[in-house]
Symmetry: C2
Subunit: 140 residues, 2 copies
Amino acid sequence: MQTVIKKFKKNLQEENLKSTPQRLAILEEMMKTDEHLECEEILLKLKEKGNKVSRATLYRTMDILVKYKFVRKLEIGDGRVRYDSNLVHGKRNHDHMICLDSGDIIEFYNDKIEKLQNEIAEKNGYKIIRRVHQLFVKKV
Amino acid sequence: MQTVIKKFKKNLQEENLKSTPQRLAILEEMMKTDEHLECEEILLKLKEKGNKVSRATLYRTMDILVKYKFVRKLEIGDGRVRYDSNLVHGKRNHDHMICLDSGDIIEFYNDKIEKLQNEIAEKNGYKIIRRVHQLFVKKV
DNA sequence: TTAATTTTGATAATCATTATGAAAAAAATA
DNA sequence: TATTTTTTTCATAATGATTATCAAAATTAA
């Protein structure tokens, strides 16, 4: 969607950050995948397509993408940082179920849990900004 | 509680691990705190009490304590690893609310969410082994 | 007590991420 | 369009938490 790129450019401007080919290449790469990619994988994908970007630039740009919620940082405690794109069409707000046997990451969403979370926060005088909800599971 | 120490010794035996003063000192230290401590803090507390333990031993022992569920590893995405003791009297199963302004970590528990989680896992053919549920909040 | 095995601790190695600083690119200005 | 200013990039060094190494010490079993 062109609108995503336009929004990104606008966000960059708002912070006096410049629109560069590297930043755009990274954004576009994240628009194309619904996997949970690690930095090295993103770097590799970019390289394969001829968009070579340095490690430092990738890390810096991922922080920008997280800040503007184009992607979400996903840490499941195995020491690897993954990124979950919010840019893939039809993808909604979700949480993760991680299979301890296969390593599969399954997305789930539950409206009731959502509501209960809000109630808990409210009851304590807080509002929720962001949440992490991960179920580590095994096949029955 | 003597029973905790006995249980620990039994667990060690079961895996052909030896009962050492360092391991016991670390367990006992974790029985005394309901804070969410980092490795360096645990190391410091031990040192202050004259129980000097090397970094390597501390890391190795924390893994054992996690394995036997004496403590829980708590990672809230700020790059610091904390340990949440399950050994403090009256402490139950809980999740965490993290205040983005103050850094406070507030514990919460909700039975309904617990049930919904189990339903979700079941529906997908899984059973829950462990879970991470963190609400990042700000004061209203 | 001895012997076999495990653990400890000091230090080196690792590895993901961040800092550095010169060269290149982008935006602003003339 | 050329020039100037500012930001960004890239390659590499630095960082810092955790892990590996291995000789010396401690533990357990016989």
